[in-house]
Symmetry: C2
DNA sequence: GTAGCTTTCGGTAACGTTCCCGATAACGTT
DNA sequence: AACGTTATCGGGAACGTTACCGAAAGCTAC
């Protein structure tokens, strides 16, 4: 037995489909008695409106497309949780796509989302995306888009990110204040906005304390933990006394590489990550981190997008919403003299 | 401008929609010249068939519904990656739903997936699900369903899980062989199948070595790291010399609780988890784990489901596919005398 | 030269739903 | 008594696509 339709109800009750439709939507022009009949019958046979038929008819779907580089990343899955919670409570369904850090896959998934008539898109750009014209096209076709985390200034859209500058500034300042002078910065490929913001925060902190900005201490690493190790090894030749890693994977990869080389943390080098892993204080040593409010970013992004979809906010009103970060100092970035106290 | 449809092409080329449709599907009964015209025009205006219209017409959607308790869990996100890879290459799209370990949410999401005309369902049961009649109903309506990880014997479906019994047996045996005698087992609520399988493996290993099975050493914990701590504290009163945690969250929660109580690992108690976290060897101490092949479970489950959907496998042919686990011994379960060697 | 075949296309219904336009009564108004 | 109003319902089209049925034109074959 397949699902019951409005036609089945109409046939069974000797009514027309339009009457049944109106009865179910509680239209004023239907006799209360008829309404009762229809509603009861529908309830008895567990009638559910077919969302596909509705999508076809109304050219909308009550679906939000979410495109992230990777689901298997605690940061993104927490963002998705935030998106999910808000969408759910406002009557939208979420479809998740992964770009796998590939520009081509991002293009494909965006097309799929559009084909599925998603009412709006929530996107964190892939690491290899440097051209956002595919998104600009969609925006010109009036498709609501909100970017989060990995945003781009080349697109006039609403963006929701962590306060990367302030977070990076605080992390760097913390390292400087705990006596570090040669602070390496490990970050992700550079088109992505967050890279530049964090780099700017790092640089601003150096400047504040009169430290030189040494390009040899900046390294870009591709994604994936395995790619981090050679970069870290390479950086060690510059004899840094601290690492500031600009991302989740980077921080863990950095930690793993340093441990493999038997570099003492925090005695030899200090380490602080820009991340969101819940196990940071279970690591060896417990890792200092700048925490991004992933859940909140997801919630805010979803709220903004749905406001956009429902016309509560005007389209093409770009802007940047920054959610504050929180620095958590743990053992990995203690000043050397203080280690025993911890 | 909205997306171009078959009608637009027909109008522009002075053809009928049926001709255009057939031309695009490369039907033999269309003049090659006409075909060329249509295909070129479609390519030029970037025509994409509307999947919603197709779903409505064919009562299928090329969509697989995946229902997991939580996305923000490395195990599940890896499974999803496996599902995603296979589905993608076989032309299916994946829609992910979260049950948030709630039976009610599971019911709801299943209904949504069905309403969206998912061609099949891939489900890992929620922790509070003890009744699977909602799934049995769907199965009787010929909807292909494959369970993974958290499966139920009350449903005659294909199941894909890790080899929980063998994995738990190996973990317990390893603890025994490294000199532990009072091995606590921390596990999740008991309706779920994996609980029972792992418990059975644990018990079998005890029996093999003539150790008593002490129910006081078995504890069930709800999900969420915060819920683990009181359970661990309670267990410590039974003076165990080892912990075998049956899940991702449990192992981490256990580690956190033990560290908080300053219980030395592995000197005082040994710890081994049944988990999938990529940071296990970065923890303090590096945590021994029984690794579940999450990616492979996802791949196999997706393959089985798609075979089912495409009729390559007969329906209602229940079975259990067990994917081997792999035990990785790290410092947290070293015999006390050996610690310094590591 | 007529029957039958092939080639190539068009028309229409159908999937489930909503919305617009009527239609039919019963009723009230003047 | 003629007309407008209200309450209640049905019919049809439309969303994009495909499948079935048919139909015209040209051809072959007897």
């Amino acid at each position: 037995m397949d699902a019951i339709t409005i036609k089945d109800i109409a046939r069974a009750l000797n009514l027309s489909t339009s009457t049944v439709s109106r009865a179910l939507r509680d239209s004023y022009e239907i006799n209360p008695e008829t309404k009762r009949l229809v509603v009861e019958y529908a309830a008895r046979f567990n009638y559910r409106p077919n969302p596909i038929a509705l999508s076809l008819k109304e050219n909308r779907s009550r679906v939000i497309g979410v495109i992230v580089p990777q689901i298997a990343n605690n940061y993104f899955s927490q963002v998705i949780n935030g998106i999910d919670a808000v969408s759910y409570s406002r009557g939208y369904q979420v479809i998740i796509f992964q770009s796998h850090e590939s520009y081509e896959r991002e293009l494909l998934t965006v097309q799929q989302a559009v084909a599925r008539k998603a009412d709006g898109l929530l996107i964190s750009l892939s690491g290899s995306t440097s051209d956002v014209s595919h998104l600009r096209d969609l925006q010109e076709r009036k498709l609501p888009i909100v970017l989060f985390d990995r945003v781009s200034k080349d697109l006039d859209s609403l963006c929701v990110t962590a306060d990367n500058f302030t977070g990076a500034f605080a992390a760097t300042e913390h390292l400087i204040q705990s006596g570090r002078r040669r602070i390496a910065h490990l970050t992700i490929p550079s088109y992505i906005s967050i890279t530049q913001e964090r780099l700017a925060g790092y640089r601003a902190a150096l400047e504040k304390y009169g430290l030189p900005y040494d390009e040899n201490l900046i390294r870009y690493s591709e994604f994936g933990q395995n790619n981090v190790e050679p970069v870290v090894n390479d950086l060690l030749d510059q004899s840094p006394d601290a690492f500031f890693a600009a991302g989740d994977r980077l921080a863990l990869g950095c930690l793993a590489a340093l441990k493999k080389r038997n570099v003492a943390i925090p005695e030899a080098v200090s380490l602080i990550g820009f991340t969101n892993t819940p196990v940071a204080d279970l690591l060896a040593p417990p890792m200092s981190t700048v925490e991004q409010p992933a859940l909140e970013i997801g919630q805010v992004a979803a709220e903004q997008l749905i406001d956009l979809i429902e016309g509560k906010r005007k389209l093409a009103q770009p802007g940047m919403i920054r959610i504050p970060t929180r620095m958590i100092v743990r053992e990995s970035s203690q000043p050397v003299g203080n280690i025993l106290q911890v």
